[in-house]
């Protein structure tokens, strides 16, 4: 049981393994216990068209594969062409937008410059408006001060005029009173006293006018 495994002993006459065996009718030359060339054991029956069908199938498969490969290749070629066209369109679109972007950036830069210039002009205008408002206010202050001065001068002039008028009245009254007093016997004493009181009132008014003038002058 442990020896090398050799070829199995045959039970029939020795035949070369490469000797073709011609088809022999299954019953020809066979007899139990008979020895001879017909003693070979029976082989399973083979279909003579089987290799040919395999070849046909393989051929068909190969053709199918080739056809499929062709279709795939055609599809790939078509797709590649489409992608190339699309890529070219995208590039054209990108360049178009790039041109637009460059144009827009240039316009933006110009507009930004204009905006900056406008801001500077606005700042200058605001400064000038503020200055003009101040100048106007100062002129208003000056006008108001001058008006106050004019009013003051008018009041002083008025007061001085009142003083002058009152003084003139006072002087006239006193001169008249002096004339009356030089010949007092001709006049009624009560009338003289009344006239003197009137002269004193007029001169008092002159004194008051002068005081008012002095008050105005000290304001």
């Amino acid at each position: 049981m442990t020896g090398p495994i050799g070829p199995a002993p045959s039970f029939g006459p020795q035949q070369g393994p490469a000797a073709p065996t011609s088809p022999v009718p299954a019953a020809a030359g066979w007899a139990p216990g008979a020895a001879g060339p017909t003693a070979a054991p029976p082989e399973p029956a083979r279909s003579p068209g089987r290799p040919r069908r395999a070849v046909v199938l393989l051929t068909l498969a190969l053709v199918g594969v080739l056809v499929a490969a062709g279709l795939v290749g055609a599809r790939l070629w078509t797709t590649t062409q489409q992608w190339e066209r699309t890529a070219a369109d995208w590039e054209a679109l990108a360049r178009s937008h790039g041109d637009q972007l460059a144009q827009t950036q240039a316009e933006l830069e110009a507009t930004t410059g204009d905006l900056q210039a406008t801001r500077e002009q606005l700042a200058t205008a605001q400064t000038r408006i503020t200055e003009l408002a101040d100048e106007k206010a100062q002129l208003g202050d000056t006008t108001a001060a001058q008006q106050q001065l004019a009013d003051y001068q008018a009041r002083v002039s008025q007061a001085a005029g009142n003083v002058a008028t009152a003084l003139a009245n006072c002087v006239d009254g006193q001169e008249t009173l002096i004339g009356y007093l030089e010949d007092a016997s001709r006049w009624d004493a009560a009338d003289l006293a009344r006239f003197r009181a009137e002269v004193e009132r007029v001169c008092g008014a002159a004194t008051e006018a002068n005081a008012a003038l002095q008050r105005e002058l000290t304001r």
Binding site: R53, L57, G64, R75, T78, L93, A137, Q148, Y152
Partner: protein, 250 residues
Amino acid sequence: MSATGHRARHGRGLVTVLLASAAVGGCALLPAPPAPVPTSVVPSSVPAPTATADATQLSPDGFDAAQRMAVRIRNIGCGALSTGSGFALDEHTLVTNRHVVADSAQLELSTYDGRDVGAEAASTAALADLAVVRTVDPLPAAPVLAEADPAVGDPVTVVGYPLGRQLTVTDGRVVGTVTDPLHENLGEVLVTDAPVEPGSSGSAALDASGRVIGVVYAKNSDGLSFVVPVSTLRTLLSDTAAFAPAPSCG
């Protein structure tokens, strides 16, 4: 029909199915053709850019709200002339100091751009150095009063006419509170280091948001300015009896 024929047909069918499956599967694995190129990839609508900080400050003439609400006051008294500042409270009312409108025969108002505004009547408060003036013509802009007084350290901006000259905007900070050294105001007043000058009296003191936090009324020799807090202003404005017609010298 023999078994061999059956197997052959089975084989051909199997091969056909395998080939069809391979064709379909292979086609599925192939790259799809590209989509058509659009005529433009510029979006039809884009989100509007957010406004910048400067844009929020835009006004009809470029002046900011703090300048537009400022009012210059010329007090023509009886033999005296003085100037002060004020700010609009609403379209026909402005706020200033009591001493700015005191002893006046006539008040003349002008805006930041030099326009004259007719003054109608002035009323002064007894408990604070505050006054309100009604105007005939509308004022350009009015600010918002802050809800509460500022805290120490808060920034403050003063807008007014120091020395009766150009409209200026000066900045500083609240440095504290103190009892009014001039005894013109009831309660405490704010002390700031924002530079002011005579003529700045009545100027609005604004916070960082442009809201009024007080009314400038005095300064000291150390360069500190004193401000009537907005809480006092609010209290007096809400009291209809707090203001009485200002006495006139004329």
